[in-house]
């Protein structure tokens, strides 16, 4: 309220000299536990950190968006002389662009609805019924969360394209030459997008489902409702907000998908906004201005959806979750067990097992052959990786960008969460809003914005890893702030206040109390960011150069040149390396992530 100057530092008197109360002689076995803390001026330092955080976040978000706004009003490419024009915005209304808008929204809505339904169903099956092997399903679904989308796309093209496996089987069964399944269609794209998004919905719904106050359902049971009836009339309505919230988020993620529409949509001549943007920028004649206009419109669309989702989430916070897990009655599946098993294991098969098998298969072929017995096998795709300087470098780059970038991202997110949730200095609401903006901006758009911005800004970061780090942090900051923030909210304020009244400064309170208690979420956020950076392609595809290629862009460029053999081998090796790195990290930090990453209600009581 009254600013920083009131935190006048004063020396505290040493208390021991004042009173003389006899102390019993106790053995000093307690001594090794203690370490001395230092007191320093928390007010000024904390205030500076706040200002710096604010500035960094504002810069991260504003720069690409403003650059895009500027670019959409210019007639020339970034870096070249041009003039002001509204032509780009007019171009939005051409039939091509409007058609693309329509397709994008159609695919987005369809994917979001199906993913929300199926994902919620799986979550309910695993956590609210007597489904067996629920832990295995959770672990596998979490694993498929980390599978990059282009691997899914590739696998399902191989399975479902006109020359694919399904048609091959159909052909040999029914003999006719007409194919029946085509992955290069909107339905194909929706199918793969749904596969890609279900883990997200699952992990998001897990928390609310487990956090429902058992007494709601018990009251219904006592009033005579059957288990299925309870599900239908009590549980699902209670979850309504959460389902809607995850639906909106899934919609946003669906419409900004890049790899799936690029691999599956382009051959079928289906154009969505993300690929159209990419096309406008990569192929001549390039129309950066129109791309910028499209990008901004896309962002407005997703931004609006984000705002909607926040409204929903905020009004939901008070109602359902109590954290008193464990007393929920399980629904018996009975004769529906086969359906549940089919759904859950079928999903795992389609989204994880099949793609990985296909990946492995393709990686050892010289050229694709649907019949494994006729395949021309080779190890050269793997040998290439180890002989290729460029590939080895991209491994290294990935470790730097993901490892270091995730660290920076978590640090920034922690500061943001602290300031918006606990400290709340003036302007914290603005900070909160700005920090959540980039989630609504599609990856390709961020990449484009940064491309524009750094063509002009004097900072020499074009063509360096730094621009990739900036791009990724901008894009995924909200993942980390949600994870860390969700936990921070639950740490009772009195725990910090007790520290202050016990003589600790604000900063000491943070260091001694808040950080240790929030540590699991910090680690969770780190792992989340690491994996998100690792599999991100959309925001990097416009920014990388040969020397700053990371694994995802290397794999992507192999895909783009239709060298699926190399793309597969690199994907497999990359995933193995990353998982080993994650495992080692887990061992060192003694932490188990993945299950509780997006789960906000399940925390032990901290009273």
């Amino acid at each position: 309220m009254t600013g920083l100057k009131n935190y006048a530092p004063r020396k505290t008197k040493n208390m021991n000299s004042e009173r003389h109360i006899s102390t019993p002689q106790q053995p000093t076995a307690l001594a090794p536990i203690f370490r001395n803390a230092s007191i320093f001026d928390s007010g000024r330092l904390l205030g500076t950190i706040y200002l710096v955080t604010f500035f960094i976040v504002a810069a991260l978000v504003a720069i690409p968006l403003l650059a895009l706004l500027y670019g959409s009003l210019r007639s020339a490419a970034p870096g070249q002389a041009g003039e002001w024009t509204l032509r780009n915005w007019e171009g939005l209304f051409s039939s091509g662009v409007l058609g693309t808008f329509y397709t994008t929204i159609l695919i987005g809505v369809a994917s979001a609805v199906i993913a929300a339904v199926v994902g919620t169903a799986i979550a309910l099956i695993v956590h609210r019924t007597d489904f067996r092997k629920g832990n295995a399903v959770t672990a596998l679904v979490s694993l498929s969360f980390f599978l990059p989308s282009f691997i899914l796309a590739m696998a399902w093209i191989i399975i479902g394209s006109p020359g694919g496996l399904i048609n091959g089987v159909l052909e040999s069964l029914f003999g006719s030459d007409t194919w029946k399944v085509d992955a290069y269609t909107k339905s194909g794209m929706v199918f793969v997008t749904v596969l890609h998004q279900i883990p997200f919905v699952y992990l998001m719904m897990r928390g609310p489902i487990l956090g429902i106050d058992a007494t709601f359902e018990e009251a219904a049971r006592a009033a005579g409702a059957s288990p299925f009836s309870v599900l239908r009339r009590i549980t699902l309505p209670l979850l309504g907000f959460s389902i809607t919230s995850s639906l909106v988020l899934t919609f946003i993620l669906s419409i900004e998908q890049f790899a799936i529409p690029a691999l599956m949509g382009i051959p079928g001549r289906i154009s969505v906004l993300a690929t159209q943007l990419y096309l406008l920028v990569q192929f001549p004649p390039p129309d950066y201005g129109l791309a910028a206009a499209i990008g901004l419109t896309l962002s407005a669309l997703t931004g609006g959806a984000i705002w909607l989702q926040r409204r929903i989430a905020r009004s939901n916070r008070l109602t359902v979750t109590t954290g008193k897990a464990g007393r929920l009655t399980l629904i018996e599946l009975g004769k529906w067990r086969w359906a549940a098993n089919t759904l859950c294991w079928g999903y795992i098969l389609c989204a994880l097992i099949l793609p990985v098998i296909i990946l492995a298969y393709v990686s050892v072929l010289k050229y694709f052959s649907a019949n494994p017995f006729e395949g021309a096998y080779t190890w050269r795709n793997y040998l290439f990786l180890f002989e290729s300087d460029a590939t080895l470098r991209s491994f290294w780059n990935t470790l730097i960008v993901s490892g270091l970038g995730a660290l920076l991202g978590v640090g920034l997110a922690s500061f943001i969460s602290y300031f918006t949730l606990r400290h709340r200095p003036p302007g914290y609401r603005t900070l909160d809003f700005i920090a959540s903006l980039p989630f609504g901006v599609p990856g390709v758009v961020i990449g484009l914005g940064l491309l524009w911005a750094y063509a002009y800004l004097p900072l020499p970061i074009y063509g360096t890893l730094s621009i990739l780090v900036i791009s990724f942090i901008t894009r995924f900051l909200s993942y980390a702030t949600e994870t860390v923030g969700g936990r921070m909210i639950q740490i009772d304020k009195s725990l910090e206040e007790a520290a202050w009244t016990a003589g600790a400064t604000r900063l000491q309170g943070i260091k001694r109390i808040l950080v240790p208690l929030a540590m699991p979420s910090l680690q969770g956020a780190y792992f989340l960011l690491f994996m998100a950076f690792f599999r991100e392609i959309a925001s990097a595809v416009l920014l990388y150069t040969a020397s700053t290629s990371v694994l995802s862009t290397s794999i992507w460029s192999f895909f783009e040149q239709a060298n699926w053999g190399l793309a597969s081998s690199l994907s497999l090796v990359g995933m193995v390396v990353v998982f080993i790195a994650m495992y080692l990290l887990m061992l060192i930090t003694n932490h188990r992530p993945s299950m509780k990453l997006l789960d906000r209600s399940k925390t032990p009581a901290v009273k």
Partner: protein
Amino acid sequence: MGIRVSNLIKVYGQTTIVHGISFDVADGEFVTLLGPSGCGKTTTLRCIAGLERTNGGIIEIDGRVVSQPETDIFIAPHERDLGMVFQSYAIWPHMSVAENVAFPLLARNVDSATIPDAVAWALDVVGLSSLAARQPSELSGGQQQRVALARAIVGKPKVLLFDEPLSNLDARLRDRTRAEISRIQKELAIPAVYVTHDQAEALSMSDRVIVMDAGHIVEEGQPRALYRRPTKRFTADFIGAANFLTLTCRNQQWFAPDGSSITLAQPVSGKDGEQRTAILRAEDLRLQARSAAMQSDRINTLSGVIEHIQYMGPHIEYSVKVQDTTLNVLDQIEFTRDDPVLVTFNPTDLHLLPNT
């Protein structure tokens, strides 16, 4: 020394929570802020602790001004040398009991050689010496509460602050702990401010009670005085179960609503037709069976009918309808509903509220 609060004002947004209250806490004194939810007592406590910033007034601790917005003075909580016990105990789950208790000493940069002894002493005072190495999750609610207490006293603070510390305990534990807190405070002779809405705690533990309502101090005084001779209706109503009777004066005599005459312990003069409110404690009223033949103009006797009975164990709680009023009476005689009764009391048990 002690605490001095002068004209404390606290505003949230458009609402004034505390309307400029003033009170003192003498060295070694135990003062309770008592009142219903929302009366501002917790806010006042937090202002003294420095967890809230005031909008006006002066707060002094041990002779030093710690808060005075008019002159921009604000000492942060960690420099006010406090010991505070929270309603939720706020025991840090990631530290052992010993580490929790040692924290204030570490934070204040006390010579580390003396810490183990101080911690041992504090744990001994609250009776938890054997649990020093335990984790908070292994402790019961009562034990956690005592850890919080040990943590508050370990640094021999200038002031002890309690924010409804007993409200999360069950009744038996509450009684025991009440006594302990009182004993410890007296032994250490540290001025203490205790916030509660429970009048039993307030009466039993305090040297002085300050009754608050809607951000104002209604009344303050020693427990006995507040109980027997409150000067405000609110106080009487909040502390203990009180019955209010409106007495009317005629010819220097006071009459009950039903017309029967009331004798006071000491004569009180009044104008004709003047009305005063009399307070009668439920436990001071006696019940007798009433037959039709009884004289109806005995002094300090009211006729009524039993309306409602609640068996409480040590006594029975009756609601007796007397004319338009319902009196609460605690007695041991057994009656049934609709029994006609007489309600009597000693003149010394009747207390007249001052004229407002």
